[in-house]
Symmetry: C2
DNA sequence: GCTTGACCTGAACTATAGTTAAGGTTTTAT
DNA sequence: ATAAAACCTTAACTATAGTTCAGGTCAAGC
């Protein structure tokens, strides 16, 4: 911890890392990627505003939901710049991410249900198996998508 | 498609790729990684047994559940070697993977619920926020794990 | 005032899951 | 018989998310 005065206390990269439970190299990495920023001392060492802790907390939560760093960075960029994210900022971000998360949960749940259905069905050899004819995949593949041909009609 | 005789019909790498909806380079890649295998023609071209289609179908499903290739390969290795996976093999694999999937869904669901609770709570600044004190993380961190200190006690 | 720990940069390396390119060979179709 | 399409290998490259190393500088405690 670096004392600069009674009201301005800045954090070194090590402080930030320790207090967020991430590594120093990760802090460097996030800065290189533009997710966070710092000022420098005369001796060229990073000093972080305390708000960095909140920002990193947000980054960590978003990562847990599976959102890639680039997207997290983009979302943070839309926040009022050079400011500690407010509760309102957080509300916006988190409700959007919760929606993303819900969608991923739904996807995985559909997959699990298919898997459950297929466990006892002699799966992958019967032509109407939901895993062999997955609407998900057809939807993703877009135009030109067609049924997967894993076994040909002539197969027993 | 390569005709070798009335009963032995082998698939070229292109056939396999086309019929599984993956790329030729991915088939090569899976073979390099030991997930699948092939025999060779006199001219050193790959020929795949038809059972490869079922195996690749299994691989694709497992990947959709988020299981890394190395783990998929390990699971396939435990199957009777040089044989087309049977319905029973598939039942074992798929029920295990379904359990994995369920666990991941549960994790994400807990996270979503925490996120939902935190959206309106002035989150990340209040010391008892579930996202600031995530039992998940504590559980993962093992011995020496402690509460994340994102804001110090002296913070307003 | 000097030693030790923390910090700096840049480059290279890790892992996962492939893709792309280059240069050469084989198969297939006409 | 020949041209085109498909195939072969090796190596390098993509992206994501960092980590590790080397060589050098800064800051803090005694």
């Amino acid at each position: 911890m670096v004392e600069v005065g009674p009201l301005q206390r800045y954090l070194s990269v090590g402080d930030v890392a320790r207090r967020c439970g991430i590594s120093v190299s990760a802090v460097h990495f996030y800065e290189r990627k533009g997710l966070i920023s710092s000022i420098r001392t005369d001796g060229n060492q990073r000093r972080f505003h305390r708000g960095i802790l909140r920002k990193l907390a947000i980054i960590k939560v978003a990562q847990k939901t599976g959102i890639p760093l680039a997207e997290i960075g983009a979302a943070l960029d839309k926040l009022p710049r050079n400011t500690v994210p407010t509760a309102e900022d957080w509300a916006k971000l988190s409700s959007q991410w919760r929606d993303d998360l819900n969608e991923r949960i739904d996807q995985l749940t559909r997959l699990r249900d298919q898997l459950g259905q297929c466990i006892g069905c002699g799966c992958l050899s019967i032509s109407d198996c939901p895993l062999r004819n997955p609407y998900d995949e057809l939807a993703q593949a877009g135009p030109g998508a067609r049924l997967l041909e894993m076994d040909e009609p002539d197969t027993p």
